[in-house]
Amino acid sequence: MSNRITREDVVHVARLARLDLSPEAIERTTAQLAGMLEHFEDIDALQLDDVQPMTQPYPLRNVFREDVVRVGLDRDEVLAAAPSAEDGRFRVPPILGLDS
């Protein structure tokens, strides 16, 4: 994993992460991530071919429950926490047509 992270990588990742980074933030992040990733090369020394990945600590199994009607969250209380709501729904700006 030795390819050094570039400014273009950071711009691409910021877009994936939906973060509008300023030009200064992009420069700073490029330098910081490069430093961290260099430090993280310590694990390249490990022989990992036969090791099973571990995604979480406890043996996962399906969890079932009875299908019973329960009172959900109060709709008005939930919508009251939103930046904008209308007619019982979240209100957002246009989702099509304006994306650069």
Partner: protein, 477 residues
């Protein structure tokens, strides 16, 4: 110096239940300390004076009426501000959740209320629990009650400082890579990260879901046992919560450590300050004097924990924090279309460290880099867990320093993210393995500041971990 509450949570609950103490008086004493010192420490994002007074009065009324009250009757508890409290602001110390009032309570909040505890306030943290000093809060740092030029540790710094300053006898924090144990060590209080799944995460705002775990801060090991006996146990609302029975930890600490095998990790990463190493040696001596056998063990992958953690935790965080998009809660930066709104809202709402971790995590998961970074980190995680399992065949518990140093000065690690990350070098591997760990105050080091000793144990071996912690506590009290 700190001003400890004169009564432990155990003593308060016993007094309130028997009628010899009034919950209202207990609360007033703690509120008086908050009025006295909170302005210099900043442990809280919000103090719930009216709600706490109403809760305490209700407990006193119930006792007077002869009703049964719970095992935490009248005990003030401070909650880290990443635990949902219905109708009460829950900020994660982030601008992006400004004004948000959750529509439900976290399971721990429900269980505390049922046990008669009084929630006294919401405590400060590193934004979204990302940090080791509580300096990364949108609302300013929490300072150490032992020396207000120094940090309280983090990310649960507010909860640790609240107990150390006597603002509350107990508090709850969350620990993803050390965020309970490290501030507990720096503030001189007990802090426990239980086995992953021991305490329900329902209503805990997610940082890294395979690592996050809630646990208590207290002044005594017995109080920590009391708290975990109340908040632990299976919860149908958290599918990773463990269904196994959890034996009473209050019962466990009645047993000594005679014959207990205490492991010394001979290949532990170096880097702890000499004053901290001296306390670790004193801890081994104390446990040996109490009847334990000290055995050498190896955990070869321990030192790779930092790398695995700083790939896995940001990866999970980058996914979890995708929900802060300006649509359903918190702040929004108005924009002509939704994509522009997401980017502008998240850039304005998240602080620098959170943005850095989202970037790191997104990169580690992105096409072309997944196998090299995230995939490799998951394999290292398995190696660490396997190494611990082998060590626990030879030793019942392991002890290490909790943190490499005593509390450092505010601003000391401000410009270097990696230096800050190294604060958690001894705590992180336990989170990766999912095992329990706790920090116990064990004397002082440089500048007369507290040093914490970390006790580690295997999955669901909290009872043995608590026995060793209680023995360390007895040795210094």
């Amino acid at each position: 110096m700190t001003q400890r509450t004169e009564l432990t949570a155990t003593q308060i609950a016993a007094g309130v239940r028997s009628g010899s103490l009034k919950a209202a008086d207990v609360l007033d004493r703690h509120l008086a300390r908050i009025a006295d010192r909170e302005s210099e420490i900043h442990a809280f994002n919000l103090v719930l004076v009216d709600q706490a007074r109403a809760g305490a009065a209700a407990i006193d009324d119930a006792v007077a009426a002869g009703h049964e009250v719970g095992p935490l009757a009248g005990v003030p508890v401070a909650l880290k501000d990443n635990m949902c409290t219905r109708g009460i602001p829950t900020t994660c110390s982030s601008k992006i959740l400004e004004g948000w009032r959750p529509p439900y309570d976290a399971t721990v909040v429900t269980r505390l209320a049922a046990a008669g505890a009084i929630v006294i306030g919401k405590t400060n943290l590193d934004e979204f629990a990302m940090g080791s000093s509580t300096e990364n809060s949108a609302f300013g740092p929490t300072l150490n009650p032992h020396d207000t030029t120094r940090v309280a540790g983090g990310s649960s710094g507010g909860s640790a400082a609240a107990v150390a300053a006597g603002f509350a006898p107990t508090s709850l924090g969350s620990d993803t890579g050390g965020s309970i144990r490290q501030p507990a060590a720096l503030c001189g209080v007990v802090g426990v990260k239980p086995t992953y799944g021991y305490v329900s995460r329902y209503g805990l705002v997610a940082f890294a879901s395979s690592l996050d775990q809630i646990g208590p801060f207290t002044n005594t090991v017995e109080d920590a046992a009391l708290m975990l006996d109340v908040i632990g146990g299976h919860d149908a609302m958290d599918s990773t919560s463990i269904p196994d029975p959890q034996p009473s930890l209050r019962e466990a600490i009645r047993h000594g450590v005679d014959g207990l095998r205490v492991g010394r990790i001979t290949d532990l990463p170096s880097g702890a300050d000499p004053d901290v190493v001296a306390r670790l040696e004193a801890a081994f001596d104390a446990l040996r004097d109490a009847g334990a056998e000290i055995v050498d063990v190896q955990v070869p992958a321990f030192g790779y924990g930092l790398t695995a953690y700083y790939l896995i935790a940001p990866a999970e965080a980058s996914s979890n924090l995708a929900r802060y998009d300006g649509v359903r809660y918190g702040m929004r930066v108005d924009s002509p279309d939704t994509n522009a709104m997401y980017g502008a809202t998240r850039a304005a709402g998240f602080g620098e460290e959170v943005q850095r971790r989202i970037m790191l995590g997104t990169y580690a998961l992105s096409a072309g880099y997944y196998d090299a970074y995230y995939g490799k980190a998951l394999k290292v995680r398995r190696m660490i867990a396997d190494d611990f399992d082998r060590a626990y065949q030879q030793a019942d518990v392991l002890i290490t320093p909790t943190a490499p140093s005593v509390a450092f000065h505010v601003g000391d690690k401000g410009d270097d993210p990696l230096a800050m990350y190294l604060c958690d070098v001894y705590t992180i591997p336990t989170n990766l393995a999912g095992h329990p760990g706790m920090s116990v105050p064990f004397g002082t080091g440089e500048s007369n500041l507290p040093v914490g000793i970390q006790v580690l144990a295997g999955t669901l071996n909290e009872p043995t971990m608590f026995r060793a912690a209680a023995a360390l506590e007895r040795a210094v009290s």
